[in-house]
Each structure stands twice: as C-alpha cells, then as structure tokens.
Amino acid sequence: MKAVVVIFPGSNRERDLCAALARVTGHEPVRVWHRDASLPEADLIVLPGGFAYGDYLRCGAMAAHSPIMHDVRRRAADGVPMLGICNGFQILTEAGILPGALLPNRSLRFTCRDIHLRVENNQTIFTCGYEAGQTIRVPVAHHDGNYTADPDTLDRLEDGGLVAFRYCGPDGGLSEAANFNGSARAIAGIFNDTRTVLGLMPHPENATDPLLGSTDGRALFAGLVGALQ
C-alpha cells in the first residue's frame, strides 16, 4: 500500500502517523509539501494532525486553500481513500470534502487524554478491522473537536451509516460525560457518502505501540492495509 502524507506548515503529528503506518505496512509513507501542485499516485492520502498555519483563523481554514488542496479535492472525488485526523479532519470539513464543522470543545479548553470510542459501522475500508459496536480506547488532543452540523445533515449521516465513531464510556454506553467535547450526537468521526474518506478527531496513530499503553488504533491501519491490497 502506498500512502502519501500531506504536510502543511504547522502540521505536527505527521511523525506519529508515519510511524504508525510504517509499523503496520513495513515502509515509510511518502511526504508531500502543501505547496506542491499535485499528489503522486497513492492508495491512501492522509492529512495529519497539528496546527496548520497556527490555526490562527478558524482551524483548518487557511490550509483548506493551500495549493495541494485542489488535487486533494479531485482525488477525494475520484474515490481515492483519504484519512484526516484531528487537524486533518478540520481541514477536510473546511475544504468541503466532509460535511459539518468542528467548534471549540464544550470546556473551552484543550483536552489531551484517553477516551473511548464506539465503532458505529465496520463495513468500510477504515473500520473493517473492528467489530461493529466494539469499544476502543485511543487518545484525543484538541481544542476544537466539538462536531456540529445542521439537523438534516446529521440525520443524513445517521441514516446513511456515515457515522464512523462515537464518544462513549468504557462499557460502550453513551452519556453526557463520555461526550467530553460536546459533539452533536457524540460524533467523533464521519465518512463521506462513498465511505472512502474518513475524518476523525481522536488519534488512532497514538495507540499503535504496546510500549505507549494502547494498541486499539492499530486495527484501523491494519484493516486499511488489508482492504487496499
């Protein structure tokens, strides 16, 4: 599987992501600079976490207008698998590739900790490594992860099986407390209509190494490799 990671000025989780991909695929992904005009051939395109352009405007708003985004949009439309994590998810929504927006967390504070996710739909290339309804533990690290969209869009996501993950408790139950950032319907990650694009706020790439305490994120990458081979 050939993975390409798009680097924006201010990306800062590209190393974590490349390490996770290398751990699963056995080789380093290709890194592409945001000012490049086009992407190389790829089986998977990833937008990593960070603070593109410092996120001084809205998160992801500047990066969505980087030169490379023209080709990113085209590839997404062509159905090339695409993964946006944290800031990458914010950029995908700002670029209109995924619906909705990420508002500041309900606490108005940056939050870095392990949370639990419920896998809502495992019939996709991204989630096929999990059981439907499975609970996994992965970290979050963001200030603006409070997913929002208009009610029609939310209904469409729900009805179409386009909700990928929801924040939940350790037992898989939904609650106000488990939905720590206040996301609409506890949504932590969504697919596009063709389920070839996944955007999520949590960091599965930081849960792929037993030395660091959790390997629950590994199945996402391993599942992708399996599905794309």
């Binding site: 000025p9 390490a19 960070g50 870095c112």
Partner: protein, 735 residues
C-alpha cells in the same frame, strides 16, 4: 562619534545601572555613551544577562562528568546517552512576565527554552513546567493559573512538542511573584552539536525568523528588579509569542543543520539582538558589525535603541560559512521565514552598529562581557529552626488526615493542568504526567532499541526557607530519587534558582546556602549541573518568595520496557518500604496542613543513604523484581501509598510497625532516601537489601478496593481518588 548629550547617571539609573556601573561604562568607552549604547550596557549588565550576583557561587557547582559533552555557558547542556546520541536540555524562568501577562508570559517562556535547545542542533522532544502560584485564596491566583496553563499549552501544543511533566504548588509567598519555570529536553547526534562562538572574520551574520517589533523592550532589565504596586504598568515589556513561526523556525533550522553551513548560531532571547550578537562575538574573541537598516522590522520608524533591545520572539542569529548563503536562504524561504544578511564578523573586537549611514553605537565587546560587574554580596545565614517533637502533637485519625492531605493544594491531582497539554504528540511518551518522572522514548519508533529518558522537576521550597543548605541538597536528592524510581540512571541536571532580592543579606544567604547543599548532593550522587538559569528579585513590596531552587533532572533508561511507574499492579503482591523511618515531622506537609504550622527544620539528608538506597532500588527494577515504585516525599509514607493505590485503582492492607514512634509521625514523616516498592518476590528484594545494607521491610499487601490501615480502619480507593482529583477542577470552576 559623540556621546549622548542627554545621557546622564539619572537616566542610567532608570535603566537599572548603578552610579558605579555607569562610571565603568564611561571608562570603557572613554566618553559618555549615547542612548543606544547605554541601553546595551544596561541590558548586558542586568542581573538577568550578567549573573552578577550569582556567578561566583554558581561556579562552585560540579559541572563535569564522564558523560557531559557541554556544561553551563552555552544555550543548553549536552550529555552523552550512548549510540552516538546526546540529550540537550535546560530550564529557564519567565516569572516576571508571567505575573504581568500570564498567557503571553508563560507562552514565550516555553518558546524561549525551545529555542535554547534547538539552537544547539537538537530536536525538542519534551517540555516540563515547574509552576508556583500564590495562595488559592489570593484574588489573582485563579486568573494566573488559568492564564499560565493556557499559555504553556497554547505554545507547546501548537509547536508539537509534548509537555510531559512538571509540578505545581501554591503558597502565599508567591502571591506577588509567581514562578513559571520551563524546561526543554532535546535529542541530537553527539557529533552534531552547534555552538555560539563566532569565527571567521568576514563571515556573514544572518538574521532569521520573525520580524522585529517594539515588544519586550528592556524585558531583561524588568526581570532584574523588584515589583512595586504598579507592576501592571510594565505590560508593554512582555513579549508576544507566535508558536506557528517557532514551529517553522525549528524545522528550518534543523533542516539547515543537516548540512555544514552554520559556523555559529544563537537565539535572540533576553535582550534580543544585543545579547545574541555580543555573546557570539565575545565567545569568539572577535568583533561584529551590524547594519540595522537591514534588520527585518514589522513597525516603521524603529530606532537603533529599539531594534537592539526588542525582545520580539522567534528570532535567531547565525554566522554562515562563506558560499552557503544561497542554500540557507532557500530553506528559510521554503518555510516562509525572514532571512536577512545584517552584518559580518570582524577582527576589531568591537560591536559596531550602523543605521541611516551613521554609526549608531560602537562598544568594545570584551569589556562588555568580561568586565561586567561581579558582586560578592554580603550574606547572612538563618538561625536553625528548633526541632518539632512529634510527641507534642495531638493524636489524630490517620485516614482523616490522609484524606485532607490528598485534597490539599500541594498534593491534589494536577490532572486539570496536564490534560490541557498535549503530552502525547511525537508518539514517544511511555509514562505520562502524574508519576514520579515522565518517560520519553528516544529511539526511533519501530526500532528494536528501547532507550528512553526519565524527566522530572523538583523542589521543596518550605525546606529551603527553613534550612537553605539542607533544602538545596534535598531538591537534588529528590530529583535523583524520582528518576531512580522510574528505573533510570540519573545523568545530570539543570537548575532554576528562584530567589528574592540578592541585595538583602538574608536572601543572599538563602542563595549561598542552597548552592552549598546542591553542591554536596551533586558530588555525592555524581549528578552534575550542565545548564541553568537564575531569577532574582522575586519580591513585591519587600516581601520575597520562598527560596526555590528548582532541579530539572534527566535520567537514562536503557530499556523502556523495563521502566516502572507508581500504579499498584497485582493483588497479592507485597509492599516493601525501603530506607529508614525516623518520623521527622518538622517542616512537613502534615504539620502545615493538619497542624497549621510551618515550624521546624527540614528532614536530614543523608547522601550516603540516598545513594545506597537508590542504587538498590534501581538494580531491583532492572532485575525485574519490582512492579511499581514510588519515592517518598510530601506527605510521607501514607500519602505515597495512597497515590500508588489511586494510580492503580487497587487497594491494599497496610500493617506498618511504628515502634516507639507516634503513629502519625511514622505515617506522615518526611524522612528522606525512602521508596515504597511493589513486588511479587519479596524475599529476593529483602535479600538484596540485606546484602546492600539497606533498611527494608514488608509493610503491606496489595488487594481489595480500599486502603486498610490495621488498627485504624479503611477508606475506599474511590474515595481517595475523589478527594485527590476534586480540588483543582473545583477551585478553577469558581467564578
């Protein structure tokens, strides 16, 4: 060139120079300095830049060792960690700016210490923050906590360097002077370290990074004076941080450092362009000429004085090898950073500044650096505190006392703080905040080597106030112990000396005493000082902070898979207390929080016992005999055991034998050189302890959902956790 007609001793005094220092500047120049030159003397001879009150004492600290590559004097210390790797680290204060404008003050403190580390060629891999605030009841404390924590997070999270540890305490002595000390740790190749000494007359001097504005002018001078009631009026001297530019600067500098273009490099920290250019020239024994018209500025009409003394952030000065300018420029332009040739190295030994076709300043460099004033200020030792007899204190329910201690501001969980820091980015955080030491892997992910660093910051200021010598030794010993408790070999430390006004003999006595204690401990533990920072004048209206020599320690873990933490792991394991318990209650947290007294001397620090006990614990961890380990400090044995239970979500039955000691002296005394370890093989651990001559005995067994104290009842681990975790979020939620 003519002297400034309006430069007078009175103006010099306003800029912080004494009459004698002003005369010395006049003698060096052979004329009255102009305003720009006066500003340069004032900044370079400020306490912050010159260490004029502290230098003769700092020199007495041990700074060498078999692993030390570079000790104090450069931007950061460098220590060999094998396999061609080096760890580069330093701690630095941003106390005064953080009190005036907490968000920007703390943020730029992080930015500054990051630059100190990547200037040396190291990629920053971890940040730690040692914070001290005033009483929780003080009207400004909540605002300061909130601002400082979001400032640190705002900067560190954005640059993508994990904030993995630190400490946070509250005490009324910090009401008017909070402490914000930031430590950065970086990783470099041992044969690719970059230094700041200028070389090669004719070589170009390059300015890179952000543009220069009017922010932070004379910040170094501000940081060298006491506050009066109008501290808020100094807000314009606080700099504004831009972590996004810093991130670009890190990447651009490290990219350039892969080649051979750089002769010397220095970040523009306190006193900005002044101190960076003077230090580079001074260390190289050379001169430097700068054309200030070529300095990138973000405001119009800036004077030479303003350009030289601005403390705008995210800027670096470099000297490049001839012929490498074009490649260097390409890298910085890729990262959308300013890159300007602003001068050249000369053989004259003089700092010459040109602007608008005129010479704006001309000062001989050597006297500016080497003839900087040095003071051996008078000092006075404090009378020792009388001992506190534990038998004189009332008997109290130990579990009730424990619950109160865990909910005290000092021991309360700081989760509310460190969850606002990205402590996971870079994917190497093996042990997260909240333990004795953070553990960060340094080998590449996926590598079969599992090398890691243990990192911690420590100080017990109340000990330092009661007995500066013992307190200084204890701070070093506790740092060494915290690294040991993670299974690490302590390598070296960086110190942040936070004190009051050194012109007062009792404050200078605190400083001298702390250094003496630190020196004894560093020597006994083979734990040298490789970098550091001094912050004096932490006083408001004549009231000083507790003396606070913060120790930032770095230790090496050969195989991170064998590192331990403090969380209890398995029911049925034995708990062993390592070290001797004498029931020392003077100056303890128990005495302060339960009895409302700060009386008594701090506990004895027996450095021979420290070393022997720590070496045993480390060996037993490496032998795989130990499943959890915690050093004993604030709150003594019972607080440590409770923290282990909370971290593991698991109870225990404690059956300590207190002998002739009053029970609470045994449970809450703060005798040093002690650890609690959890083990499945108690006989092996006890045997090793016996062989090493280390006092050790089984005091309990892991299991159940409560902390049960034989003869005194039980308290559930959930209740302990609730008491420990509720305080800080509750406090911060109050309007």
């Amino acid at each position: 060139m003519t002297g400034g007609s309006n430069v007078t001793p009175a103006l010099a005094a306003e800029l912080g120079l004494t009459g004698e220092e002003f005369e010395r500047a006049v003698a060096i120049l052979g004329r009255t300095p102009n305003l720009t030159e006066l500003g340069i003397f004032s900044a370079m001879w400020s306490e912050h830049c010159s260490y004029k009150s502290s230098k003769i004492w700092l020199k007495t600290l041990p700074t060498t060792g078999p692993r030390v590559i570079c000790g104090p004097g450069e931007n950061a210390g460098v220590v060999d960690i094998g396999d061609g790797d080096a760890v580069v680290f330093k701690i630095e204060s941003h106390n005064h700016p953080s009190f005036i404008e907490p968000y920007q003050g703390a943020a730029t403190g992080v930015g500054g210490i990051l630059r100190d580390v990547f200037t040396m060629g190291a990629r920053p891999i971890a940040i730690l923050d040692s914070l001290r605030f005033g009483s929780p009841d003080h009207p400004r404390t909540r605002h300061l906590v909130s601002g400082v924590v979001s400032g640190i997070g705002g900067y560190g999270n954005c640059v993508g360097v994990p904030t993995v540890g630190g400490e946070c305490e509250f005490h009324p002595s910090y009401d008017g002077n909070i402490l914000v000390n930031a430590m950065c740790v970086g990783l470099a190749r041992a044969d690719r370290i970059f230094y700041s000494a200028a070389a090669g007359p004719g070589n170009l001097v390059i300015y890179v990074g952000a543009k220069t504005g009017r922010d932070g002018i004379h910040g170094a001078t501000m940081a060298s004076a006491e506050f009066s009631a109008d501290a808020g009026a100094k807000r314009p001297t606080v700099q504004v941080g831009d972590p996004f530019t810093e991130k670009l600067l890190i990447e651009a500098c490290l990219e350039l450092m892969e080649g051979d273009a750089i002769v010397a490099i220095q970040d523009m920290g306190a006193a900005g362009l002044t101190s960076s250019s003077v230090e580079m020239a001074g260390k190289g024994g050379l001169g430097i000429e700068l054309d200030l018209d070529r300095v990138p500025v973000r405001e119009t009409g800036m004077s030479a004085y303003e350009i030289m003394l601005s403390e705008s952030q995210e800027r670096m000065l470099m000297i490049l090898r001839p012929g490498s300018e074009r490649d260097a420029r390409r890298i910085f332009e890729k990262w959308e950073l300013d890159f300007a040739v602003i001068g050249r190295v000369t053989e004259t030994g003089r700092l010459v500044l040109r602007m608008n076709g005129e010479i704006a300043a001309e000062i001989p460099v050597a006297p500016l650096v080497t003839a900087a004033p040095l003071y051996e200020r008078p000092w006075r030792r404090r009378a020792p505190e009388p001992e506190v007899d534990p038998a004189s204190l009332p008997e109290r329910d130990p579990l009730d006392c424990l619950r109160r201690l865990l909910a005290s501001a000092t021991l309360a969980s700081k989760r509310w703080i460190w969850e606002q820091y990205d402590h996971l980015v870079m994917g190497n955080t093996v042990r997260r905040p909240g333990a004795d030491a953070a553990v960060v892997r340094v080998s590449a992910p996926g590598n079969t080597i599992f090398k890691a660093l243990a990192l911690a910051t420590d100080c017990t200021p109340r000990y330092c106030r009661a007995d500066p010598v013992r307190g200084g030794a204890q701070a070093v010993a506790e740092s060494w112990r915290n690294l040991t408790a993670a299974g690490a070999e302590p390598l070296a430390l960086t110190d942040n000396m936070n004190f009051g006004n050194p012109e007062r003999p009792e404050i200078m006595g605190e400083f001298v005493g702390a250094i003496e204690g630190m020196r004894e401990a560093c020597v006994a533990l083979a734990y040298p000082v490789v970098s550091g920072n001094v912050s004096l004048y932490n006083e408001t209206n004549g009231s000083a902070i507790l003396p606070t020599p913060v120790i930032g320690g770095v230790g090496l873990i050969v195989d991170a898979r064998g590192a331990v933490d403090l969380a209890l792991k398995h029911d049925g394991d034995a708990l062993i207390l390592i070290g001797e318990t004498c029931g020392h209650l003077g100056c303890t947290l128990y005495l302060r929080e339960i009895e409302g007294s700060e009386a008594g001397p701090p506990p004895m620090v027996d450095l021979t016992a420290e070393r022997r006990n720590g070496d045993l614990v480390r060996a037993e961890i490496r032998a795989g005999h130990i499943t959890a380990c915690h050093d004993l400090s604030d709150g003594g044995l019972l607080a440590a055991i409770a923290e282990m239970a909370i971290a593991g979500g698991r109870g225990l039955v404690l059956d300590p034998f207190s002998g002739a000691l009053p029970r609470n002296a045994f449970l809450f005394g703060e005798d040093q050189a002690r650890y609690v370890v959890e083990t499945a093989v108690p006989d092996a651990v006890l045997g090793a302890a016996r062989a090493a001559g280390v006092p050790a005995r089984v005091i309990g067994v892991v299991g159940g959902g409560a902390l049960t104290l034989t003869g005194a009842g039980a308290i559930s681990v959930d209740a302990l956790k609730a008491a420990n975790e509720a305080w800080l979020p509750g406090y911060m939620a109050q309007a």
